[in-house]
Symmetry: C2
Subunit: 207 residues, 2 copies
DNA sequence: AACCATATTGACCCGTCAGTCAACAATGGC
DNA sequence: GCCATTGTTGACTGACGGGTCAATATGGTT
């Protein structure tokens, strides 16, 4: 065993790659820019990644995997509805925090800096988020909290879209905004739109 | 004056380019694919466009110009609020029709097939649409139809996002859905969320 | 210090296209 | 039919950048 490899290399490269991809998109980002930024050689890049696309995939997959883990929290179907709503709010706040922390990659994905060959990953995630949202609405309906005349497909789309757009704006902010207030505004708007009984929809002030 | 130029050339090329860009994105679409699809030569392409990017710009600008014209219709501030809402619905329906008719280009833009250098055009449009939406909400507030406690910034974001996502889904549909019903569902959800007086928010059945 | 195994490097190779232009084709006027 | 003019073509060029690999550096081991 002679000469151990530099353990920081891959991390440095991933960081630099992320920055380059955010700045120029997958196609226009040059491997040499990435290696220069990481203070490494071009060859070093190919010790850690099969190709430029491979590095991109690793970044995206890492981000989406952590994201998916946050979104697909188990819903306790037996819980009191109010508890579900509260838990929903908490999880959303975590999600917003996560997006803020990872706003560079988030912008990359949300703005389609990825080429067509990676779009399916983002689309798939968007679809899952929307399905998740649809389930929650359906549950609310079944419990009688939400209106019975809602079209689940279009309604869940609109809700997912509202969040989507707010997150897009969030990740583009120069300073961290009041995530909790943003979230409350959105949830309040949507809850009132969903509720069967308008009075119940008014948000209780959070403790 | 000898030999008039083929008047169909540019139109053929634009159509083929649109198709190629939708299919592969700006970077990956090859000029030779475009010309082959249009049944023209590569040289012919450069008689009509400065560069590949120029062709792309012409397609996008054409689409956005027509779109902007539809969105920025004058709001009659003196009109009865109910009239404004009705007019809003009609205009949205037109907009949805437009998106459906032009779903190929719409998908191209919404999914970021455009490289970073063109994103500002889409972003600018999204921003204008959102501002427009904000103004309508503000008007509703001033008239007392909407809640006073709304955060205009976040609320307008959420509303714009809801439409945005629904349009994204619309342009991805294989068959034309019932645009009017989709629109009603969205408007209904949002109006109930916005309204100061829940009773007033219920949509009157359209004539 | 000498040696070895492995890590690292960056000059080079080579495929891919955007864009050019010299040759050719078509048209209208005479 | 012939010529002048303008339209059209597609083989070619040159730039670019992803990926390779022979040469070199490094650090541990004896």
């Amino acid at each position: 065993m002679a000469r151990p490899s530099d353990v920081h290399a891959k991390i440095d490269l991933l960081r630099a790659a992320e920055q380059a991809f955010v700045e120029h998109g997958l196609e226009k980002a040059r491997v040499e820019d990435i290696t220069a930024k990481a203070g490494r050689s071009k060859g070093s890049f190919y010790l850690h990644f099969q190709s430029k696309e491979d590095a991109f995939r690793q970044i995206v997959e890492g981000f989406l995997a952590r994201l998916a883990a946050m979104v697909e929290y188990p819903v306790d179907l037996d819980a009191d509805f109010e508890t579900i709503i509260t838990s929903w709010h908490e999880k959303d706040l975590e999600l917003f925090e996560f997006f803020w922390q990872n706003r560079a990659v988030a912008q990359l994905l949300l703005h389609g800096g990825s080429s067509a060959q990676f779009r399916y990953m983002v689309d798939e995630f968007a679809e899952r988020a929307r399905t998740n949202c649809r389930m929650l609405v359906e549950l609310g309906q079944a419990r009688g909290y939400y209106r019975q005349d809602l079209d689940l497909d279009v309604t869940s789309l609109a809700i997912a879209g509202a969040y989507d757009r707010v997150v897009r704006e969030l990740v583009a902010q120069p300073k961290k905004p009041d995530l909790s207030r943003w979230l409350e505004t959105v949830q309040d708007l949507l809850l009132r739109g969903l509720a069967a009984n308008p009075e119940r929809a008014r948000r209780r002030p959070r403790s």
